[in-house]
Symmetry: C2
């Protein structure tokens, strides 16, 4: 790790000026073949790697896009990782059905989409997850590092977003399509749930329904619930005739809520606002010997992998999570190209996926 070579070193070694070195790297066609070869040879010999910091400063753009998520480390201990501890491997039992999975599948897939699209368009991707009090510092920190920022809805206070947006374009991911000055990217939560609910209410003809919503602060959930209500209207069912409960989007929460539901009365269908909740519901139903779909229909929302392997396999609305990530990055690049554009809203299509837990009629 000797001092890293710079353009000056390369220039000297290849007998040209630094401008030529820079040109070889940025616009090779503007340099004569012969010269280019000399420079590239010097680059390789010296192990030259351009400094992104210097480049970013000079070019006034970093070519990095940032992605900001809600924090997810509550479960991770703070102590440092320690090194090897010999070769003894403990053997433990795991019959405790510890199922607080922290299925971050959703974020993971969005991230993957963003990663793909970013590099495809010549941007690097920087990720940050906001955690508690440090969030503000984190956001401005990352804002100083990137050309544009995608933020998961509701993870950053509007005020902070507005502050950051004075400097770089900000895209809000997966939230309601609010009429603010930001670009938005989200899935058709409302229409998706509406379609699925109508399938249950009309095609299955089942009106004895329980709807398990998610946390009130989830914009996605708000839209899904609205879609469900639309379906009630579509199908001529009074809201008073169904039950609507709240859970917390987790599998454990789904179990607890299912227990509450059954304690009162077993419905003919349970619609859940996300897959994890639905999986928890399935757990409880199976445990009590209630057959799905014969006795109760169950549906979820999201399309996580686990739902494809459950028993019975879970009917759901599939969100294009990877595409969401891609679209977010895309939106940022569009705005970078033309900052004068009006705020855009991208709504990505979803699909109702019928599986065993609520089969095709």
């Amino acid at each position: 790790m000797a001092k890293a070579p710079t353009v000056y070193d390369v220039a000297e070694r290849s007998g040209v000026s630094i401008a030529t070195v820079s040109r070889v790297l940025r616009s090779p066609d503007a340099v004569r073949e012969h010269t280019r070869q000399r420079v590239l040879a010097a680059v390789t010999e010296l192990g030259y790697v351009p400094s992104a910091a210097a480049r970013g400063l000079a070019a006034r753009r970093t070519n990095v896009i940032g992605l900001f998520f809600p924090g997810h480390d509550e479960t991770v201990p703070d102590q440092p990782v320690d090194s090897a501890r010999g070769d003894t491997v403990p053997i433990v039992d795991d019959d405790a059905d510890t199922s607080s999975d922290t299925e971050n599948l959703y974020f993971d897939e969005v991230l993957r989409g963003a990663e793909i699209e970013a590099w495809r368009r010549g941007f690097a991707l920087m990720v940050a997850a906001g955690r508690g009090a440090s969030r503000e510092a984190l956001v401005t920190d990352i804002a100083g590092r990137v050309d544009g920022l995608a933020v998961l809805a509701r993870t950053v206070p509007d005020e902070l977003l507005a502050y950051v947006a004075r400097r770089i374009p900000v895209v809000i991911l997966a939230g309601a399509q609010r009429a603010d000055s930001f670009d938005h990217v989200s899935a058709s939560n409302g229409p998706g749930m509406r379609t699925l609910a109508n399938y249950v209410l009309q095609d299955h003809g089942v009106h004895d329904v329980v709807y398990i919503a998610g946390p009130t602060d989830s914009p996605d959930d708000t839209e899904r619930l609205a879609g469900f209500r639309d379906a009630l209207t579509d199908s001529g069912v009074a809201e008073a005739d169904v039950r609507i409960l709240r859970s917390d989007f987790t599998r454990d929460g789904g179990r607890a809520t299912a227990a509450r539901v059954l304690a009162e009365r077993r419905p003919r269908a349970i619609l859940c606002s996300n897959d994890e909740t639905a999986l928890g519901v399935l757990d409880v139903l199976e445990q009590r010997g209630i057959r799905v779909p014969e006795d109760v229909l169950v549906t979820g929302f999201d399309g996580i992998t686990a739902g494809r392997h459950s028993r019975p396999r879970l009917t759901t609305v599939h969100q294009p999570m990877v595409e969401l990530g891609r679209a977010a990055v895309h939106a940022i690049t569009v705005r970078l190209d033309d900052p004068t554009l009006d705020p855009q809203a991208f709504t990505l299509p979803v699909e109702v996926v019928l599986r065993e837990s609520c089969p095709r009629v």
Copy 2:
């Protein structure tokens, strides 16, 4: 997005020099309370966000750590994401058991660990996934942006790594602990498999075993296979008395291989080199009405979430994936603090987790 304010703007507005502004941000204690307040007020009013590029250039370090993965986009179409397409939601059946999950769980979790540890230590995290021919450009690109780089073993040619390592510290993740000049972080693959295999061979007393290995180019797999062979020795079983097959670490591959195994003769136990393979094996066994664990014991390796929800639940060796990510970042920061250190190797402990597919005796 007017021109972003700089230290000069802040300095002018608050009536101090740029040096003082810089101090307020870097070492607040070196500035008088009164002055600090004035400067901070100006910062807020102007919406000032420090440029990481400039800071990185001046400070000669970017405070970014890079993470490089093998690419995973073969399945992602190249066309751009398009926007809203109205509100019609298609309803599709999904009884085709399309199970090419591309379970990137492993990477996702490693990434999560890296993310957590990086920000915790004051670094930003940049992610890149290598794809085919562009890999070389990608690696040097990211190398120019970061203070240190963690690379998943075998995703980047040694030559390229060596090139990059002339400039920044490089940590190799999850590979064999080779005696090279890089730092290494990995899990106890060999001992883990050895312990598990011995449990089957000795505690269960089952010698009629098939081992399904992974791709030959996986260093993890190589170690696991070695661990299995060690166990054979430990337990006094001749290698000729067991079958060793190769698969490809995927669920589909597991199914195909299981079919091959059964076509010949049903063994008493099937040990798989990763969980996905094992899940595929379970699929086939169930389909044929072969009971697990009564007829056949099945084990995996990794500890992915899906294995906790399978039927029967999968016995496995749990790798600390999040910890791997954290350890990688940790290793980089250690080396940044003291570049003269000898190459380090961190081996993280694993655990054999007994579940139904190979229960406790």
